[in-house]
């Protein structure tokens, strides 16, 4: 997947999230709803950071850069997953979340530490 195609997919994903969450048209978006961008590195066998702290009500875009493998990125509780191709970052749009903990993991088997390659998004009120 090249960078252009990734961008198209991410834009489509962002649109789908807004539509699904009832946030409606771009004209209705407020400054407060602009997504926060969080950079994450995926490298065998960890995500850095592996704990991502967010405020509730704040949409976020994770920019995940894989350094060494086609890792997977899966947040089962949110039904979000994608492959992380090495190279340009993969952008993962996440709508505003309720307070809580949302575990994520690499779900493409990547070697002897694969089972420990996971993390948590911690959303506070």
């Amino acid at each position: 997947m090249n960078g252009d195609r990734r961008e198209v997919l991410v834009r489509a994903g962002v649109f789908a999230l807004f539509a699904a969450s009832g946030m409606g048209t771009l004209a209705r978006r407020s400054a407060a709803s602009e997504p926060q961008v969080v950079k994450v590195v995926a490298q065998r066998f960890q995500f850095t950071p592996n704990e991502i702290e967010l405020k509730s009500g704040q949409p976020v875009v994770l920019e995940i850069t894989s350094l060494d493998f086609i890792h997977g990125f899966n947040i089962p509780a949110l039904g979000i997953r994608t492959n992380l191709l090495p190279g340009p970052p993969t952008r993962v749009a996440i709508k505003a979340l309720a307070p809580g903990r949302y575990d994520f993991l690499c779900d493409n088997f990547c070697g002897s530490g694969h089972e420990e390659m996971n993390g948590t998004i911690v959303v506070s009120g």
Partner: protein, 292 residues
Amino acid sequence: MIDRRRFLQLAAVVGGAVFASALPGSLRAAGYEEFFFVQLSDTHWGYSGPANPEADTTLRKAVASVNALEIQPDFIVFAGDLTHTTDDSAERRRRMTEFRGIVGGLKVRDVRFMPGEHDASLDSGAAYKELFGETHYSFDHKGVHFVAIDNVSDPGANVGEAQLQWLKADLAKLQKSAPIVVLTHRPLFDLAPAWDWATRDGAKVIDILMPYANVTVFYGHIHQEHHHQTGHIAHHSAKSLIFPLPAPLSQPKRTPLAWDPAQPNKGLGFREIEAEVNEARYKIAELQVTKA
């Protein structure tokens, strides 16, 4: 089969519970004969770590225990993760060769293998195929159709469209009432996706199996017994021969259960699966690595 049944009763007493699939119906009319086979799983040959300091002896003990069974099974199945993964392709082949040499000591010569993600995910099954053959296949035994499904050669745990079409064609020759046993490594259903205990397109496999009335799945991967139904299809996971893992989602991380030097084989084992004509269809007897 009186001796065999008595043996299973004894096994239940000394080795663990006998679990029976709750699927009704006699299969005598279908030409189904009683027999039993042994399933071993997740031997992880080459593993070294605190979860099993005796990792270099457990497999040999299990082979000796199978050879010591009073009645030998018709065949033996290894349900994946024969070896522990390594990035070194030469080391991977060395581990597979050693594994093959050890299990070559089994008295029973009919031994069926399947890959796990530790064997096959890093090279799309290349080394496995060199040493053990195809990663998916089917065979018939005494009226039961066995299908081995590969859900590990793709690191993303996809069975894939080509294999799905192969499965559909393989089953198409059977009557809808035919007894079918599916052998695979990962669970075909979403047991615990948060722990990667799933097959990404497993629902498509189950959709293909669903029209068949008598389907039972035996798998590995999760290093413990687990029993689940998707509709009329029963899924039974096996213990491992390396280290036990916690119950699904019972703790924050899927880290192995701590080694207990006082009980080195705790949580490990293999199983016998008896195909029955009457009562339940498959009786499972869980056995310890070595007799207490």
